[in-house]
Structure formats: C-alpha cells, structure tokens
C-alpha cells in the first residue's frame, strides 16, 4: 500500500533488516515445507522402491484412489457448478445460510462427516433403512468412498466457482441475452468460459482434497483392499506392518500431486494470456 513512499524515507538499516527478515521467513517456510517431502524420497530410495510399487496392495490402492477421485470430481463439478452460479447470481432469502452450509465441510473434522454419512446412509441410518429395503447397499462399498470424498471436497470447488462467477461482469451476460442468447446458452457460452480459470482452480483443489481424504472414508466406507482402501487408508494400514509400502505410496502421491499442480499452473498461465 505505502510501498512507493515509505522505503525512501527509512534509514538503510531498516531496509537491510527487512530484507534479512524476509529472507529468513522464506528459508524457514521453504525448509519446513520441503524437508518432509525430501525425507520421504530419501527414505523411499533406500527401499526396493520398484518392487514395492508393483506389489498388489500398492497398485490396488492407487487404482482405487484414481478411480474414486475421478468420479467424485465429476460429481462435484456437475452438481457444484449450477449451485455456485445460483449462489453467485440469484439473490434469495437465507443465501448467507446456504453459503455457510456449503462451506461447512471445510471446517468440520472429516470424522464428523464420516459419522454423519454413517448416520444418514449407513444400514441403520435415516435413509439407510429405506435404501436397504430398496436393495441398495452403500456402507463398505466403493460408492461410500465416493460419497465421503464428494462430501469433503465439494465446498472447495463451489467456493472457487462462486468467486469465479461473481467476477463475470453481469452486463456480459446481459449483452449476450440482448443478442438473442437464451439464459442457458448465455451461461454456457459466456459465464462458464469467462469463469473457467476459477472453475479449474476449484476443480484441482477439490480433486486434491478428495485424494487426501481419510477420516470420513475410514468411518463410512471401512477399509478393504481394492474396494475401499484408498491410498491414504493403505498408507495408514501398511504402516502397521512396515514402512516400505507407505513410503512408496507417499512418494507416488507426492509426484502425482506435484505434476498435477504444476500442469495446472502452467495451463492457467497460458489461459491468462489467451483470454
């Protein structure tokens, strides 16, 4: 804010101190964030990494995690986008409350989400008995994993998408309407493309949250290899028998996450230039 005037008036000692403090803070944060990641690779390298990585527990967990997070993300985007648009554009009584409810899973401990899902959709849950009568079983299935992930991840997408839609100038859509677009085509051909970077950012955050999901999953879906044991559950479970498989899984997870985030960042930069 005062960046243009203040430094000029201050003695150089302060400027030097500021630089030192900033560099120190950067070092501390960088080391703190990087050392655990480095330690995982350092230790994983000591193990028979490629043997471990091709073992069935590891590949099953990775396959399951990629499958479930893909489905969860698809659901979050399909259902979350209209919700975000309505929250951003349509004024209605109680919108603050609706907004807060949507954000709630971000703040709630995942275990609370898992317990809630169990109480709602478990065999003795509120809807569970009804589902049970209809022959639909959810608890302990891959469906339960997807539900847990969708529950915890959706606010990350909806928040970002809502901010994106709020930033789309209303008159852009109005102009499209006056030029003969229907409401829905204005939404698809104006609002969505303009808000695309925010939608993408939200989708990446939601996917990352789904990938890391642990608490709600273990409570609601249980833990069974190949069916409900996603990578975080497998890391937790395998740590009981040894540190090799957890290290391998962690290393793979770090690489996947890094590649996804970096790709996303580069894509966003290109999008920013072309827009």
């Amino acid at each position: 804010m005062s960046a243009t005037e203040a430094p000029a008036r201050r003695p150089n000692v302060f400027a030097a101190a500021e630089v030192c403090a900033a560099v120190f803070a950067c070092l501390v944060v960088f080391l703190f964030l990087c050392l655990p990641v480095f330690a995982i690779f350092e230790r994983a390298a000591e193990t028979d990494f490629f043997d471990t990585i091709s073992s069935s527990t590891v590949t099953e967990a990775l396959r399951l995690s990629l499958l479930t997070t893909t489905i969860s993300l698809t659901l979050v985007v399909i259902f979350g986008t209209p919700v975000a648009y309505i929250l951003a554009r349509v004024p209605f009584p109680g919108r603050d409350i609706a907004d807060t409810l949507v954000d709630l899973p971000i703040v709630l401990p995942p275990a609370v989400g898992g317990l809630g899902l169990l109480m709602a959709f478990g065999r003795r849950g509120i809807f569970g008995e009804w589902l049970d009568d209809a022959g639909i079983e959810i608890a302990f299935t891959t469906t339960a994993v997807v539900m847990a992930q969708t529950f915890v991840a959706s606010p990350f997408f909806i928040r970002a998408a809502k901010a994106g839609f709020e930033a789309v100038p209303q008159n852009l859509e109005d102009v499209a309407r006056t030029l003969g677009s229907s409401r829905s085509s204005a939404f698809f051909r104006v609002a969505i493309p303009v808000a695309a970077p925010s939608l993408m950012a939200g989708a990446v955050m939601a996917w990352a949250r789904a990938l890391g999901e642990f608490g709600a999953t273990i409570m609601f879906a249980g833990s069974f290899p190949g069916r409900t044991q996603t990578v975080p559950l497998a890391i937790y479970r395998q740590l009981e028998t040894g540190v090799e498989a957890p290290l391998a899984l962690s290393a793979v997870l770090v690489v996947i996450s890094f590649v996804v985030l970096l790709t996303f960042r580069l894509l966003m930069r290109r999008a920013a230039f072309t827009l």
């Binding site: 169990l118 302990f140 642990f214 273990i218 833990s223 069974f224 009981e240």
Partner: protein, 298 residues
C-alpha cells in the same frame, strides 16, 4: 443417541494425528508432573546416596506411560485406579490402540515405559527392533467369540452361518493380534469336517472391512453396520453385551491368546513400571482382569 456418541468418541479409528497429539499431551503431562514434584526434591537427593539399602517401603512417585492393546481398555483403567490407590504419588497414563500400531509407534520413537500387547508376536518384533527389553511376562489369556447384532437380520445362529454368501463380516486386519487369531480359527475350522475345507475361504470372502483394532470391529457390530465380527471374549463388556449376541467358539477350534507385558528400553521410571507389572500379576490385578472376562495365569 448420547451413548452412541460416547461410544464413537471412544472407538473412532485412532487417527495418526490423534495419536501424535496423545503422545504430545502425555509428554506434556509428565513434564508438568515433574515440575510439581520438584519442590519435594531436596530430601530424596540425599537418600540416593545409599542405593544398597534394603528396599524400604519408600513411596513411589512419578508417572509412567503404558502402551496397551485396545482390548485392555476397561481392565487396565481399573487396574490403574487400584494401583494408584496403593501408590498415591504415581500416575499411569495410557495409550490404547491395536498392538501392531503401538509397536510401530514405539519403533518410530514414541516414549513409553511399558508395552502390553495382545500377542507375543508384536512383543518379539518390538524386541527385534530394540524398543523393548527381551524378557516379557505373560499376564493374561483371552479367547475368541463371534458377535452378531441383537437385531441379527442376517439370522446367524451358528458358526457355519458365517460362510453363507452375502453375510457382511468384519474382522481385524491380519496385522492386528485378534485379526491373526481370527484367521487361525478359520484355518482350524476348515480342517474340521463339520465346517468343510472351504469354510475359511468363504468367510474371508464375506469380509467387508478390515479394522485396525478389536474395538473397531466391536463398534461396527454394535452399530449394526455389519452382520458378524470376531472379537475377544473380554471385549463383550456389559455395554457391548446390551447390543450384541455372542456365539461361542468351541475350545477345540478356539485360539488361546497370550497377553505379554514388557519394559521398553527407553523406560524412564523403571521402579514404577516394575511395580505396575507386579501389580498386574498380583491377586488384585488378576482379579480385575478375570472380572473383565480375561483368563488369569495359573
């Protein structure tokens, strides 16, 4: 509803973070306790000069941390109360989890004075990695039972019913003592003509979740989320008995679980830790274990 919440509060999976927090808190608690004890220090400072003296009944003071198998929760908490009644200046802190979890925590550097496990395998592995001393004491035995929800909609009345297709069975995973014992039972039963050679495989095919400790298995059945589970007979507490029906496993097929207790190599307060082991083995300690459906050592 209230009791349900209380149940889950106690039985939700021990998330790594919670464990870390528990360890941090117990360390903090022991640090605080040391501070409190400090003002009394001057006199013991002189008495340490004659270590050869016959163990005069000098009161023990300080606290110890005991890592104990999940199945020991109620029994050990009661033993700790009785132990404290005899040794007022002591405190026993617990960390309850699956024995294999506790062993891993010790190997990763968690601080404890005693380790009480639900099988000797975990103690042997811990001794191999040098986190506990070599000689352990067996202080109790336990046996397996099958539990089914009171509602029992799957209509399970015999052990053979566990192999019926479509039944939802919950076991502890094979790394957990009770999970390993459960599989031993399945192997024994498969050799028995009354069950047939496919019995074990059929039961395992019905498993919908593998839990990290015995109490999580019990909780799944208590909440009626699954049709049957295998736990220790000592896990059928009065609270659990209200929600489940027990199916006994005959002695010939059952597995007698050994519960060993051992000092860790990092134990800080060896006097109290040894006194605690002695108390667990004493008549008073054994009576409490038996009261909680463990089998005493005789």
């Amino acid at each position: 509803m209230k009791s349900l919440l209380r149940l889950l509060w106690r039985r939700v999976p021990a998330l790594p973070a919670a464990v870390a927090l528990a360890i941090a808190l117990s360390l903090l608690a022991s640090a605080c306790a040391d501070d409190v004890a400090a003002p009394e220090a001057p006199t013991p400072g002189t008495s340490t000069a004659d270590p050869t003296a016959v163990p005069t009944p000098e009161p023990l003071s300080g606290d110890i941390t005991v890592f104990a198998a999940s199945s020991l929760i109620q029994a050990f908490e009661e033993i700790a109360v009785a132990f404290k009644a005899e040794n007022e200046a002591t405190r026993v802190n617990f960390n309850f989890a699956g024995s294999q979890d506790l062993r891993t925590q010790l190997e990763l550097g968690a601080q404890a004075d005693l380790f009480a496990a639900a099988d000797t395998r975990q103690i042997d592995l811990a001794a191999e990695s040098g986190v506990v001393v070599d000689d352990h004491e067996i202080f109790a035995h336990n046996r397996l039972v099958v539990i089914v929800p009171k509602a029992n909609e799957a209509v399970i009345t015999t052990l053979q019913d566990l192999a019926e297709p479509g039944i939802k069975v919950v076991l502890a995973n094979v790394g957990v003592p009770v999970g390993a014992y459960s599989r031993q039972f399945l192997i024994k039963a498969s050799d028995d003509p009354a069950f047939g050679p496919d019995y074990g495989a059929n039961v395992l095919a019905n498993v919908v979740s593998e839990e990290s400790n015995v109490r999580q298995v019990a909780a799944r059945i208590q909440l009626d989320e699954a049709d049957a589970g295998i736990v220790f007979s000592s896990d059928v507490t009065t609270e659990l008995a209200a929600a489940v029906t027990t199916i006994e496993i005959p002695d010939a097929l059952n597995v007698l679980a050994d519960y060993p207790i051992v000092l860790t190599t990092e134990a800080e307060d060896i006097d109290i830790a040894e006194a605690f082991i002695e108390f667990v083995l004493s008549d008073a300690g054994q009576a409490i274990l038996v009261e909680h459906n463990f089998i005493g050592i005789d």
